[in-house]
Amino acid sequence: MFQYLIRRLLWAGVLFIAVTMVTYVIFFLVPASPARLAAGKTATPERVEEVEKFLGLDDPIYIQYGNFLKRLVIDRSLGHSFTNRRSVNEEIFRAAPITATLVFGGIILVLLVAIPLGIFSALKPHSLLDRAAMTYVLIGISLPSFWIGLVLAYLIGFKAQLTPIAGYCEVFTVPEAATCGGVGQWAYHMLLPWLTLAIVVAGTYVRFVRAEVMETMNQDYVRTARAKGAPERQVMRSHILRNAMLPVVTIIGMDIGILLGGSIFIETVFGLPGLGRTAYESIQNFDLPTLQGVVIFGAIAIILFTLIVDLMYAWIDPRIRLS
């Protein structure tokens, strides 16, 4: 177990280096000058050069990368934004909880929809409900999240006026200039983003749960359970679902990791100041330190949740625990 953890952490280190390096390389391949952007439109060439020196952009790329690593390891700092000099650490810590609430709320909604729908579809394949569910799956998988987000904002937010169209409310530290605040307002503003995320993600899960349940239903041990005289409800709960959910747990864990790295489209559509929006803005402004911060956070989230899934798997599947 301990050895396993060490191995996983070493792999995480390798992954970290790879991810940050790729971000650096891509960033420097883009023909743009962050210094010029940072210096402003009216800056003289001398001024731009000065800014370049100040930001360290005149060094060769490997030196810059080395400096970045040194700063990260020794000062535990992701550096400062090119555009507004704010600490990237602070920016990530501000934005991450917003993305996290979007992701976890959305995933809970996904499970609430996908598990029952998947089970019913599996129990009555080719029924009306199953066909409807499969149509929905197709829609959920095919349509992009920003389109669904915009349509929901238009229909539910604008036409029906049931929810806000966009915007975010702080729960605890409400700024003075804010128009709203508190848990109720926060949840009210998160409704549409959650719904959008759920619609986009749940499709795959309905399909997945359906397939897993159908496969598990035909297992010999399910017949054994019936031969014991177990009622259908118990057969479903204790024998089918307990087994069918094993692979679902894996996918959820990985999806949470990926989504935490930034749900750029949903956050942009609904104006949520989370990691996705931070990433989007930092790309537009060629703000490498901030972008790098989001990428690192995303990588850590994925590594962490894959690890959590692996540990959980060992807990829920005895075959893995003991071998």
Binding site: T224, P318, L322
Partner: protein, 341 residues
């Protein structure tokens, strides 16, 4: 004494994409209390489906059954799902072919055994566990008190089948259906499991329906034998009788394909051809395309199960005349036992 189980003219058909499949076609037999009945036949002859129908375990969405399954006089085909659940695992229990896949991998064997008790008895978890332990010891699992909390994957195939047997017998059922209980096991383990079943059958007084394709298993364990071919009963007799006076060419074929230690043969006899498709069975006697004795009548008329003259119970369904049968049976017996060969 009234029979424990009376199966009368049982028919089961499946709706498949290719049409109706008649998996059991007019099967009848009785099981007396504490009797061991063997059902023998090739794969796909309907022996497993017969037993799944008795248990009410076929998928109701695509299965239809008719006839009667009288268990102590009560027709199980007409019983409510609730009543069937009471019967299953309590009065009639079943063990399956493949012990590797028949136990749930995520629960300990103790939990799976206790579940069977709790479903039918008003007992505490502790009492159920005690009963589970008792049964694990009865099926001779070494260090049962420690192994009760192990998971199925920690057991070998033979041990898992012992667990399955323990689970089936845990509520002391009157009837145990064993669907090829030794097929998936290696030969030495097979012998142990059969020995165990025989012993437990004596101890518990349980009647057993033993489904198998192995005549050796039949000879060792059964009192009566039903030979099934293509969803129908070909021959039904007392076990000694069927080995001494087999009447059906299909039974001869099965016996001819048994390996014998004491007789030197170049090749084992085999029944030529494949079992017929149940979607589109041949006319007349279903065995006629593979039968070496086929006559014109076999292709047209379905043979009915008739009593063989004699003191011992014996029924067969073949058009061949009795004289030929006696002669061929004697020839076959001489060949397989080596007497007069």
């Amino acid at each position: 004494m009234a029979p424990l189980l009376q199966v009368n003219d049982l028919r089961t058909q499946f709706r498949t994409d290719d049409g109706l499949l008649q998996a059991v076609d007019g099967v009848s037999f009785n099981v007396e209390p504490s009797q061991v009945l063997g059902i023998v036949g090739e794969s796909g002859c309907g022996k497993s489906v017969t037993c799944l129908t008795i248990m009410g375990l076929n998928d109701k969405r695509n299965t239809e059954s008719s006839g009667e399954v009288l268990f102590r006089g009560e027709d199980l085909l007409k019983a409510s799902p609730k009543r069937l659940r009471e019967v299953r695992g309590n009065e009639i229990a079943m063990i399956f072919q493949d012990p590797m896949t028949s136990l749930n991998p995520v629960h300990t064997v103790g939990k799976q055994l206790s579940e069977a008790v709790i479903l039918h008895r008003d007992v505490s978890r502790k009492e159920a566990r005690a009963r589970a332990l008792e049964l694990l010891e009865a099926v001779r699992i070494p260090r049962a008190e420690r192994r009760i909390d192990d998971y199925p994957h920690q057991f070998s195939g033979g041990m898992r089948q012992r667990v399955m047997i323990a689970m089936a017998l845990i509520n002391s059922p009157d009837l145990l259906i064993a669907d090829e209980p030794t097929t998936a096991l290696d030969v030495t383990t097979q012998a142990q499991i059969l020995e165990l079943l025989k012993q437990l059958q004596k101890d518990f007084g349980t009647a057993i329906i033993m489904i198998t394709h192995d005549l050796g298993v039949v000879a060792e364990t059964c009192d009566d034998v039903v030979v099934m071919y293509s969803a129908k009963v070909a021959e039904h007799a007392d076990v000694d009788e069927i080995f001494e006076r087999p009447q059906h060419p299909y039974t001869w074929g099965l016996m001819g394909s048994l390996p014998r230690l004491e007789v030197v043969v170049d090749r084992l006899q085999q029944i030529p051809g494949q079992p017929p498709s149940l979607l589109n069975p041949p006319n007349g006697c279903r065995f006629h395309p593979r039968c070496p004795y086929t006559m014109a009548v076999c292709k047209e008329k379905v043979p009915v199960l008739t009593k063989v003259p004699g003191d011992v119970f014996h029924e067969q369904a073949c058009h061949l005349d009795p004289a030929t049968k006696e002669r061929e049976a004697a020839k076959l017996l001489a060949a397989v036992t080596g007497v007069g060969a």
